[in-house]
């Protein structure tokens, strides 16, 4: 429709049409939700008949969508109606997180139900979280969440290393190395992760000798079916101050890096910004270490009776889960790394060689920066998978988010809110990983253009 022939009435109509459509749609939505179920089902039938009969494309566009929306609403209502009906029979509230109140805004978010005493023990926690059976379900849930986060982050880190090494090894000109990498990838990739986890846990880590007969390396490293105990660093009162100083060190080092980088750009002479930055940071760190009076102490684990004390103790549950996740995801990352490197045109390597770059330089400055760009999106998927797969911890008795949720369901019978809560938590973590990786992806893309 041309602008010249448009009357004011038409213009008004065009401006109001989206609003009218939204209003109509909203009203239909509300009607579908609030009116009796019979009405919702009748709407589906009427809209479907209208969609079949309508011959005008614009009308059909409307009726088809109306029929679809009505059908979704009706099915959803039947399902939720049935659910609340059964939950009422069981005397349960479907969504105890929401409470209707007398005042505005009439609905209140509450965690009351999770404030009850949990009453179950959690064998290990992460990031120094304290927890006893007397704490609430919510506290238990936080411990589970921290455990999931710890194993996911470590797993992502280790799987990336294993995967990159295996992926590059598969492309190695050394026949033996590439064969070994191929066998690793093709074997572990085609066996379900759950089988591997249970194997690591029941057939390897639980089969280790007991604490008294276990491996004891120089009274410092202990390996047994109870734990893997390593020397670790303990903290004293000056630790907080030192961490603060380290933060300052990072800022100063960043400044030094920027200065040296600018100098290199302006003079054209190599000014080693990374070495300078690292050096600055190290100097500040050491000075801080001395100034705050040994904030860190070296701590060796000790065998006391049948258990260990001090040092870093890693449970077999955690080790089994971490090893399983790392090796399994590593195979997929290896394939991604291999594919991305192979996707770089051969001319790039040849051109780099013609410029006189060494093998390592070719990889560092020419191949990897380009391969990285292809790698990031599929790598993101693998990170997401690893995080979601960490929920298989339930099979190796590691108390993660899902397992704490499972125990809570068993104790309270509140399946609906807990599953919803667990799902939302996983969704949120998925979103965070996606956001981080998308940022990385955008940065890489910007630099190249």
């Amino acid at each position: 429709m041309s602008v010249l022939t448009e009357t004011p009435v038409q213009r008004l109509g065009a401006a109001l049409r989206p609003a009218a459509l939204f209003g109509l749609g909203g009203a239909a939505l509300l009607a579908g939700i609030l009116l009796p179920l019979e009405f919702a089902l009748a709407t589906v039938i009427v809209a479907a008949v209208a969609a079949v009969l309508s011959r005008n494309a614009r009308v059909q566009r409307f009726t088809v969508q109306a029929a679809f929306a009505a059908a979704v609403i009706a099915v959803g209502r039947i399902l939720i109606d049935n659910l609340t009906f059964h939950l009422d029979e069981l005397n349960l509230n479907a969504f105890p997180f929401l409470r209707v109140t007398g005042e505005f805004p009439f609905i209140e978010v509450t965690r009351d139900f999770l404030r009850q005493r949990a009453g179950f023990d959690i064998s290990e926690s992460s990031f120094g979280l304290e927890y006893t059976a007397n704490d609430s379900y919510w506290d238990a849930y936080m411990v589970g969440l921290a455990n999931t986060v710890r194993v996911s982050l470590l797993g992502i880190f280790l799987a990336t290393i294993v995967g990159t090494v295996a992926g590059v090894a598969r492309l190695s000109r050394n026949w033996l190395v590439s064969r070994v990498a191929t066998v690793y990838v093709e074997t572990l990739r085609n066996v379900p992760l759950l089988v591997q986890l249970i194997f690591w846990y029941t057939a390897v880590f639980l089969k280790l000798p007991t604490t008294t007969e276990g491996v004891n390396l120089f009274e410092a490293v202990f390996i047994s079916n109870r734990a893997l105990a390593l020397p670790w660093l303990g903290t004293t009162s000056g630790f907080g101050l030192w961490v603060l100083l380290l933060g300052v060190g990072v800022l100063v080092a960043a400044g030094v890096w920027a200065l040296r980088a600018r100098r290199q750009e302006q003079t054209g002479r190599p000014s080693y910004p990374w070495w300078w930055a690292f050096g600055t940071f190290a100097v500040i760190g050491v000075i801080g270490l001395l100034a705050t009076g040994t904030p860190l102490t070296y701590e060796e684990p000790e065998l006391v009776g049948r258990s260990y004390e001090g040092g870093l103790q890693i449970t077999p549950e955690f080790t089994a889960l971490l090893v399983g996740l790392t090796l399994y995801t590593g195979t997929f990352i290896a394939e991604i790394v291999r594919g991305s490197i192979q996707a770089i045109p051969k001319g790039q390597t040849e051109a780099a060689a013609a410029l006189g770059l060494s093998g390592l330089q070719r990889l560092r400055y020419v191949i990897l920066p380009q391969a990285m760009r292809i790698m990031i999106p599929p790598l993101t998927n693998q990170y997401l998978n690893l995080m979601k797969n960490s929920s298989l911890a339930v099979a190796v008795a590691f108390k993660d988010l899902f397992d704490v949720g499972r125990v809570t369901i068993n104790q309270t019978g509140q399946a609906v809110p807990i599953i919803v809560l667990v799902m939302l938590t996983y969704l949120a973590m998925s979103l965070i990983i996606s956001l981080v990786m998308n940022t990385v992806n955008n940065r890489l893309r910007l630099e190249s253009r």
Binding site: Q65, W175, V177, V180
Partner: protein
């Protein structure tokens, strides 16, 4: 002049091997070092595995429990139902191989035939005849199909018949196996049932979701995006838990409604545990398939749709005859990859208490005679999963090559 003895000519193969080794193993100092280190580790690993498999391990646990591994607690009197299904599958696989020889179908047919054989070897009792019958059916059907293709012109109708046969076999298998309480299904039987039902059910659902996501109707698009992203954001076991604990509450209720003046009774759906697991797996896998198919849809050039419109085709026909065939063909390898993932994911149903293959592997080590034999049992289970998953991925590579995906 001293007579020099001519150097003894090195046999060609030895020289070739020497050259090859120098090029591939000992090209430079770092390379040689790498070779030696790897070789030492490899030797240690191979020796360890060898010693375990042939000396330390006691495979009695597997041999004594073959039936549990393969069909679980499926009653012996009813085993004939599985046999009938296997005979049908073997015959159809042979037939399909003969009819479609040339493309990767033959690998798929071989895989299915091989699977039928695995079951045959593992069932208890007198399996010799049944195994022979399966082999005979497979080869007989293959020969018949080859003869049909070569000497008569009925290959086309025969292919349609074969497709119909596969569909019919699915119905037949459902009717036959349904008679046995699903609580008794187990082992590889249950694993394969879950995988096949998951594949068959999630594929059309995934295609529908992908088409919906690329639809020009915002309401439909919004729904599909929401479904896909929600499902892809959560782990499968949360869905299995939902299916186990919440889904029954949503569907198991009989209701009577008056619809436009007519009384209608909605029967409640009874869902046993196996059906719940199937629902969860299908819902989960369809979201991933949808994303794969969407990739294929985006790869179809826009001109194809425009040309089809210009010819006067309707939306459904454009989709079914023009867009989908091209889109699906482009993403076959990824689809097979998703099916492999689905097959491996069926192992997760142990967490909601189903006794599939992995659970069988855990159960046998609870028997008094086999306590502590987890390694043997789990390695055997892993081997079965590996054989199926690995052959599927090889078949997919073969298919990719014969279809020439990406090389047109």
């Amino acid at each position: 002049m001293t007579a020099t003895t001519p150097p003894v000519a090195e046999p060609l193969t030895v020289r070739r091997a020497r050259l090859w080794a120098r090029e591939n193993l000992f090209g430079s100092v770092p390379n040689t070092l790498l070779t030696i280190v790897t070789a030492v580790f490899l030797a240690a690993a191979v020796w360890g595995v060898f010693r375990f498999v042939f000396f330390t391990a006691e495979w009695e646990v597997v041999d004594a429990n073959r039936r549990l591994f393969f069909v679980g607690r499926f009653p012996s009197d009813e085993t004939w139902r599985i046999w009938v299904v296997l005979f049908t599958v073997a015959g159809l696989a042979g037939l399909s191989w003969g009819l479609w020889s040339g493309i990767g179908m033959k690998l798929a047919a071989l895989g299915l035939g091989g699977l039928a054989l695995v079951f045959a070897f593992m069932a208890e009792g007198d399996v010799a005849w049944s195994t022979a019958a399966i082999v005979a059916l497979f080869t007989g059907a293959y020969a018949a199909a080859r003869w049909l293709v070569r000497t008569t012109g009925y290959a086309g109708p025969a292919r349609n018949l074969a497709v119909a046969g596969w569909l019919a076999s699915f119905v037949l298998a459902t009717l036959l196996l349904r008679e046995v309480n699903t609580a008794l299904w187990g082992g590889l039987l249950l694993t394969m049932t879950l995988a096949i039902v998951g594949i068959v059910a999630s594929f059309p659902l995934g295609v529908l979701l992908a088409v919906g996501r690329t639809s020009t109707y915002p309401v439909i698009r919004l729904f599909c995006v929401g479904y896909i992203e929600l499902i892809r954001g959560v782990p499968l076991i949360t869905l299995l838990f939902t299916a186990k604990f919440i889904l029954p509450l949503m569907v198991e209720r009989e209701r009577e409604l008056s619809l436009l003046g007519i009384d209608v009774t909605f029967p409640g759906v009874e869902m046993d545990d196996v059906l719940r697991a199937m629902a969860a797996i299908t819902i989960f896998s369809s979201a991933y398939l949808a994303e794969i198919v969407r990739g294929g849809l985006q790869a179809v050039p826009k001109g194809q749709v425009e040309a089809a419109k210009a010819l006067g085709l309707g939306t459904a026909r454009i989709l079914g005859l023009i867009v989908l065939p091209q889109a699906l063909r482009a993403v076959i390898p990824a689809i097979v990859g998703q099916f492999i993932a689905l097959f491996k994911d069926t192992s997760l149903v142990v967490i909601i208490g189903l006794t599939e293959l992995l659970r069988a592997g855990q159960q046998v080590t609870a028997q008094p005679a086999f306590i502590g034999k987890q390694a043997e049992a789990l390695l055997f289970v892993a081997l079965i999963y590996w054989v199926v998953a690995f052959s599927m991925s090889r078949a997919s590579q073969q298919l990719e090559r014969t279809l020439g995906v990406g090389e047109r």
